[in-house]
Amino acid sequence: MSYHYNKAFENPDYHLSETLEINRRRSPQENLFSYQAPYGASLPGSYGEHDGREQNYPLAIPVASMRQGSEYRGGLPRVNVLSRSPYGSFTDNLSFEPEPELAYNPPSTFHSPYTHSTSNRSEDDFIWRRDRRPHDEIFMTSSSVFETNPVWKEEETLVGNLASMSTNERIKAIQKMPETMKKKREIRNKVLKEITKKSRHRSTHLSCCTQCLQGIAVSFRRFGNSLSEYFHLLQLRYNTLKVIGAEFGTSVLSYFIFLKWLLTFNIFSLLINFSFITIPQFLAAEPNNLSFTGLELLTGAGYFQQTVLYYGFYTNATISKIKNGPSYNMQLAYIFTVGLYFVICFLILLFSIAKSFWRNFINPQAYSVNASKLLCTWDFNITNEKAVKLKQKNLSMQIKEDLTEVNWEVLSVSAKERVVCISINFASWVASLGTALAACAGVYFLSTNNLKLFVKGHRNDLESQAAMLVLPVVTSLLNAFIPFFYSWLGRLERFKTPGQHIYVTITRNIILKISILGILCYYWLGIVAASESQCWETLVGQDIYRLIVVDFIFCLLGSFFGEFLRRIIGTTVYVSLGLPEFDIGRNVLDLIYAQTLTWVGILFSPLLPVIQIIAFSIVFYVKKVSLMMNCQPPRKVWRTAQMTTSFIFLLFFPSFVGVLAVIGVTVWRLKPSEECGPFRGLSSMYAAVSEWIEILENYTASKWVVWIYHNLITSELFFFILSTLVLIVTYIYWQIIEGRKTMTKLLYKQISNEGKDKMFLLEQLRSLQRAKQTPSAPGGQGQAGQSSSYHPSRQPAQQVPDYPGRAFDRNQNASYNNEYPDAAGILRGTGFPPGLERAQRSSGPGMSEAVAIALRAREAAELEDQYDDTYPQP
């Protein structure tokens, strides 16, 4: 039957094989639904069938109302029961029309339901509806949206909206839909149909240009896809990450992701530096006549001094291969490349911080600990059987701890205990800051001693090379062992939350590392630069090289001694210690330290990223192997997302900003060495730029560059205005944020009020039902239920003196309920005022709508009370 109608509805677009197939596949389903479909009533000449349906009908209700997410269906059939009842009257239908569309029988042709109109119009309507109905059914079962007429209207508008979007937006929107692939395909087909229809209306032919563009877009996308295939083939680490995630979960994984990110960052820096500084230098290279012994790999001195690794080797000449041809100014290339590199780094860091904050710190205050601990905590990454069991065990331990903690919190801490706690905190802060200070002082004296050795003479013997290594080894030792002291201190203190513990330890570690780096920078810029050495930039570069290499070696040793030996001890000697855990915080801080060194060194040794790339790749695999062999998954819940954000922030704030300061001082204030490097003979590195501008002033074609330089870059006024503007914008945004916060609070309050409203209404209705155990009780429900299906003409309809009719239909409903108590029970059981529930479900912005519906429902309930007063039921 329905299939027949579908055919009748044939539409040229149905020739799309996809749609056709879907329709065919669905036809049995449609037949199934047709017995439930209340619209069937208007079928011409189907008396017998109709009777049959009448009998089936009550059955259909429980089925319908039991179905998932179908509270609304309950409303619809009831309406139809009424309109089809022999007693049904004109007013019934009018007042109960949930939607204008439901009035498939126009009021003019209204009739007793048993005499069906055979007018073409109603048949058309029916077909029209029939064609959509199954879609709704599928839509409903696959999603939790509600099965009422508004739904397909919604879908219609959805399709319309999608059709009006641009292709990319549409794809995104379709991808975001919580639907099955099949449904999405269907929607997409509809949208495409809509679009073709529209475009047919608009212009009968697509312009050649658009077609061409579309073709290009499609082929471009295909090209991109095939490119991504090959790109993925190169990305071998994905599997490693998967294995780590499977065994250790997201928290440990975040370390490796951070490491990978740093690695790509360094590859990018290498590409920039290599292509703009090193390749031109190769063209003008001088022969290197120093011998290579092998120890240089460790010390970075000797042979490497005369290579592109260090600043001192670069020429200050203008390179040109062809005479009078285009030339390449090394000075400018050097300064602009490094400058550009730092600007790009700054932007990348800024954007990743911003993105990370945006994703992870949306509302950190209102972190609902228990709920998310339970529902958001399961790490779907973990697929290893042992890891799953361990995780489950840890979780149950944690839940038990939390349950006991509730009682513990209640116990108030005595004043004495508090004083002890604070004094321990204070003492450990003093101790940690003191150690950092002592470490700095040690490094400083060691480095000044070291300098004397350099200045004394360049002896290329073993002794001096070994002496060179003292400073980096000591620094790395301090970096490696003081954190253990800090974690011991942390264990002494008592923190309120484990998060606090982590943050305090990290802060102490970062203070240590940054102050050591700071003192080293002071030594390089303040003492080495002022010394009368031949080429101080190269000396600094070598120092940094050694620091990086030794730090890398210590990292490897750390995973050997810290994890491997610890495991041996933990499994054989002291079994109670157990397997070690991977210390994410400490390892990430090591990475940040190494990256900071690289940044500081980039000006003095442009190819430092190469060393760092090699080091990081080896660290990646060594750490992976060590992790797999030695460690166990972390026991505590580590708030990965927030920690990752804070790590990127740490990378930005003390480290990158500090590096910028160091580079700034070097470029603007310090005098480059006289005999080496691209800036030899200049008063400062920056002088290269001002000299270049002076040259440019002679050319009329580049006057604008000069103008920009004078009026924007060197003018204080411009920067003053700029910073004022930035401050103003920041202030405005801050105010907007404040406003939004207030708004959020209000909305939260509204939600909870909403809930109370709902509870109140439910309570009211339940008491009503309880009060009258008379047949009329469920009638009230039916009525209030329909109050959700809002219709503009409803309010007046209620007010017209039409009470007998209303009472009547209530009776009608009641008798139906008496006959099928189960159905009534189900109706009662499934969420009552459907309008409200729907409002609850509709997303946040629909709040005001929800309130309106709630008010309406309450109004209806009050009206109900009035009726009851006026017309007491038998």
């Binding site: 600990v369 339970l374 399961w378 990965t640 479900r841």
Partner: protein
């Protein structure tokens, strides 16, 4: 690496447009699906063969094998609700669980996974089931119900005693780790 020609490229594009995954992942997924039952699943999907793999096969994938929610996941994404999956369902499942899926989509399906009795609310019995799955029945019934009460008290913004999708989404927004943990690497 096997070739990528498992169905016509226009069809492939189609899948790409509909799901939150990329071409490479899509091909990998197809082969993973096919490897579950090579004798059942044809290589050529141009004519859309009607193939459904039973839950036993889906649940035995290494990615799902040890996941306490594996049955729920399969049920939520399968068409019939029994965990039997067509290729479409399979792609759906892993595209939602991929890292490219937006937060709302993930939240929606996570909600469905935790909603064991399919009533569109996470009620106390659902939570109890979740807790038992998470802790491998190591807690006493009293502890379980205490935990569930706490969760409902915390996350239920509208005081109806159960968590609706909105409540759940609110909670998800405040739990940033969710995005990275509701993720299966394939």
């Amino acid at each position: 690496m096997k070739g990528f020609g498992f169905f016509t490229s226009s069809n492939r594009l189609f899948f790409l447009i509909l799901s939150c995954t990329d071409n490479y992942r899509l091909c990998i997924l197809f082969y993973r699906y096919r490897d579950l039952a090579p004798q059942l699943v044809p290589l050529d999907y141009t004519h859309k063969p009607d193939v459904t793999l039973p839950y036993e096969l889906i649940g035995s994938m290494p990615e799902l094998k040890d996941n306490p929610f594996r049955q729920r996941i399969a049920e939520v994404f399968s068409e019939d609700g029994d965990g039997n999956m067509t290729l479409d369902n399979f792609l759906d499942m892993f595209s939602v669980l991929s890292e490219m899926a937006p937060r709302d989509l993930k939240a929606y399906y996570a909600f469905k996974i935790y909603d064991f009795n399919n009533d569109d609310y996470i009620c106390k019995s659902d939570l109890e089931k979740t807790v038992n799955k998470l802790t491998r029945n190591e807690l006493t019934p009293e502890e379980v119900s205490l935990v569930c009460e706490k969760v409902i008290y915390e996350a239920d913004a509208d005081n109806d005693g159960k968590l609706s999708l909105e409540d759940f989404q609110h909670m998800i927004i405040r739990a940033p780790d969710f995005l990275s943990t509701f993720h299966i690497r394939i």
